[in-house]
């Protein structure tokens, strides 16, 4: 049994039986009898009571994170195992406690860093401006902060989710 997280939902999933394509899976209290087949790498064809689902998986940062696309909808799915639960519990403190890394969700280039280490900045202050694909995005602090560390330089190429500036 594993827990699987989709949005706010935490579903308990258990494989009841499996014989080739034929699988029986329990999701929370519901039991599904499926014909499930990986037809391309990461792409599954599922027949559930003859209804056809074409499901594409894209792995995220690790093997437990997925973006899952059906023809109609898209979901962010996380597998919650012991390790993940430990990390979740540990990281589940007050968001404003301790250090916080400002990062950009997308890769790009640092256009400017209008702050310097030691600056006391107020809610809404822009700490870094990142450009990608001809568009500039400003990253601001949501509460009053102090700039602790600046990890990148202006003009530097950055990865998505890379820590750029540490505030406390």
């Amino acid at each position: 049994m594993l827990e699987v997280k989709v949005g706010e939902r935490l579903a308990k999933v258990k494989l009841m039986s499996r014989d080739g394509n034929t699988v029986q899976v329990k999701v929370d209290e519901k039991i599904y009898n499926l014909d499930l087949l990986e037809v391309e790498k990461g792409v599954y064809s599922i027949l559930k009571d003859n209804r056809s689902y074409n499901v594409e998986l894209v792995e995220g940062d690790n093997a437990k994170e997925f973006t899952v696309n059906t023809y109609e909808e898209s979901f962010d799915v996380n597998i919650i195992d012991a390790e993940t639960r430990y990390l979740m519990n540990r990281g589940n403190g007050d968001e404003d406690d301790g250090d916080k890394a400002i990062s950009s969700p997308m890769p790009g280039k640092v256009v400017s860093i209008p702050v310097k280490v030691g600056d006391k900045i107020t809610e809404g202050t822009t700490v870094v401006v990142v450009e990608a694909m001809k568009m500039q995005s400003e990253y601001k602090v949501k509460v009053d902060r102090v700039v602790k560390e600046i990890l990148v330089k202006e003009g530097e190429a950055i990865d998505g989710k890379q820590a750029l500036v540490i505030v406390e």
Partner: protein, 502 residues
Amino acid sequence: MIKKVLVANRGEIAIRVMRSCREMDIRSVAVFSDADRSSMHVRYADEAYHIGPSPSAESYLVIDKIIEVAKKSGADAIHPGYGFLSENAEFSDRCKAEGIVFIGPDSHAINTMGDKITSRKKMIAADVPVVPGTTDPIIDEDEAIKTINEMGLPVMIKASAGGGGKGMRLVKKESEILSSIRAARSEALNSFGNDAVYIEKYIDSPHHIEFQILADNHGNAVHLFERECSVQRRHQKVVEETPSPIMTPEVREEMGKHAVAAAQAVNYSGAGTIEFITDNDLNYYFLEMNTRLQVEHPITERVVGVDLVKQQINIANNEVLKLKQDELQQKGHAIECRIYAEDAENNFMPSPGVIKHMSEPLGLGIRHDGYVYEGFEIPIFYDPMISKLIAWAETREEAIERMRRALYNYKITGIKTSMKFLERIMETPDFVNGQYNTHFVEDNMEFLMAKPDYEGDNEDMAIITAFINYTDKLDKMQPEPMKKNMAKNWKDFGRKRSILRL
């Protein structure tokens, strides 16, 4: 006769130009920056030359480098695509000076149409309707206030040298006039080094309708009808269609004539687009001319049945335009959706990254122009548009249904794209009814962002698939002796593979 064309561009438009070149038995030369070594246009071309670092200012925009490659490769012509150097008068001149054919208009046409006030004057002289407003740049504030009061509010203050929404201010109340003028001038100075502004009547509920024109070097010009481009977000077109759902045959004919007159007023050569701002009563006014191929040119190609790139090349070859206005007609309806690598749910933030998996929609009435492929990493340096989907059908209703069908089956994973957003546009009543203007996205944001209800168990299927995939991976990681109940054929399979099957 042009025998080798350097395509001074990248992405889908570079490939699109190369396709027509190949059909004409013309060799194509690609140029690429550091970030584009693995780009499809490099793989697609007959020849490819590296022209510098990834930022376009150091590669695709450097005239000297492009010219150098043209000479080295022996290209006798350069196609600029759209964007980059396509509307650069200096580049057009430079090509001419170097004895290379520039597939596009001369610098006179580019310069004249590139300046809002100059082009406005030209259009007035050519009897092409323009938005009521001033033709001279305004420096004096009192004069500006007087002009605005005469014209009546609302008005738009615009930078003469402007573009892209910069140096632009909408004035609705008298009390805002002075502050708006000052703000526009200061922004214009910062952005363009020139603080001249002009004043235009503001058109409420405007439609963006443009006409495609073709003009040769022998005085012949035709228009290829209109494109409706009012579905925009952040002043960027998202969906275009032709014919425009609000057009009438009478207005079309009149606008077409004005579009041709506009092009001829600057002795235009090649393919170009006259943009009109149009109100709900089909009053229309010249807005600007794009002196190049447009992103949305395929919908015209589909409905009129003309290959615009081939026409450009023929014109550049000094050929006489074979198309006759009275022989041209629109057949059926075409819609284009631009697919961007962006997160529509997160304020359309760009989403570069690596393409993991793609399924392209095909079949009747679908054209697909793209450039990404599985395993390709979309560079962060350029435009986020990754492909264009064009649907054609006999009627507008059917074209929308076809577009919905195509978007439904189109999948690109690994990055966020605007596909779901586009699918929602195809379902939005204002769009379906053909009753929309440039405020469409804004006005319908709630509907566009709402998630439709689907029957079935998509979510549970997503959960199960991820679960199975994860547990299968875990299982494969177990050391051999721990695996129980291994089927015989799986063992055989493993043995078979072990003979240097890497």
